[in-house]
Symmetry: C2
Subunit: 243 residues, 2 copies
Amino acid sequence: MTDTRYELYYWPGIQGRGEFVRLAFEDAGVPYVDVARRPETEGGGMAAMQRFLSGEAKGLRPFAPPFLVYGDLVMAQTALILQWLGPRIGLAPEDEAGRLAVHQIQLTITDFAAEIHDVHHPIAASLYYEDQKTEALRRATHLVKERFPKYLGWFESVLGKGGGPWFCGERIATADLSMFQVLSGLEYAFPKAMKRLEPKLPGLRALRDRVAARPGIAAYLASDRRIPFNKHGLFRHYPELDA
Amino acid sequence: MTDTRYELYYWPGIQGRGEFVRLAFEDAGVPYVDVARRPETEGGGMAAMQRFLSGEAKGLRPFAPPFLVYGDLVMAQTALILQWLGPRIGLAPEDEAGRLAVHQIQLTITDFAAEIHDVHHPIAASLYYEDQKTEALRRATHLVKERFPKYLGWFESVLGKGGGPWFCGERIATADLSMFQVLSGLEYAFPKAMKRLEPKLPGLRALRDRVAARPGIAAYLASDRRIPFNKHGLFRHYPELDA
């Protein structure tokens, strides 16, 4: 009898990119271990994660969290994890074109997330926000005016073309859950900008509400497993960037 | 009899992200049509690309070039294209762990490429470099000092662990060709920084030389199909950023 567990490794204090993977497990009701949030005395904590990042542990050394360990497989990159995981937990289309579409949407979410992150870190991830605030203010204007409509408009149109209610039609996939996360994060970080954009995004608003109402997600959001948004993650609410 | 062709769509005047796909076809000796570089009178040019970007053409509307069309499939995102293409043209490992590793390396190259691009566009892609040069100078210091060693050190260590000569051992894959492209681009854009880093990257230097000597690649680099590096692409040589 094998005892292979899904082990997710991610920074314990933030939603960040790990949240896209957490949402998939939570929606599917599939058990997983959120390793770095477990006590060190039980093999968890940052020490466990560090062994993989330093290359001491098994498998391909991840460049950065999140990474997923399943038996001998160690895989990093959020979109890759979800592409591998989706079909195994009932969150992927059956056909090739559908799976390519889901991965393409997920990778576009990855790009969008990086741009959203970089608005508070336009110079370097190693500097505090306060040390690059002038540049952040300048970048935010372009992000909100140019990139939000471009990305969100694309997601809205892809959703509309699919015939709904999900990106790939009748069957929910990992990218739908990730889209919910992006919308939730943007509403937290850029409430004013999102209020202005929302009328143009009826499909995405409906998707967000449908995801939030799914039993696994609703239970998760109400639990203490859901880390609140904060000023250390991907989505940060700095009112001056949401003018 | 089917007549399905590989049709690559990318901006005609730059290497950019399209180059990662071009290198795969060129190494494999597999015919492809570089559509936007063909005359409009033969169904090429920007007009052909625009029909897909506007959603008028078949398939999932790409968010941005490059995208690949094969029959009814339309796929965007460089890493996705290469993941789909690799096994079809003999540029992928046979086993699951190997394929996951190649995709993970490719996605890390995607991240690195975005950071390299953003050094000359730290505020917005819609602004000229000259209009964000102050910020670019500041970002370049961190990119060169912090991110180059981190990314290149990771690629070097992954290459070393694989047993060589390629990332996944005996068999070359798309990620090896993409790594060559990154190294070539960095040597063009940041010759001083790369000169300092090179002694620490013996594996990557050897990989670069081995790729350049492969018959398909050598012929391609000597041909006019290889667009020279220039100041419109991903890798740009601004001496002030390579201080």
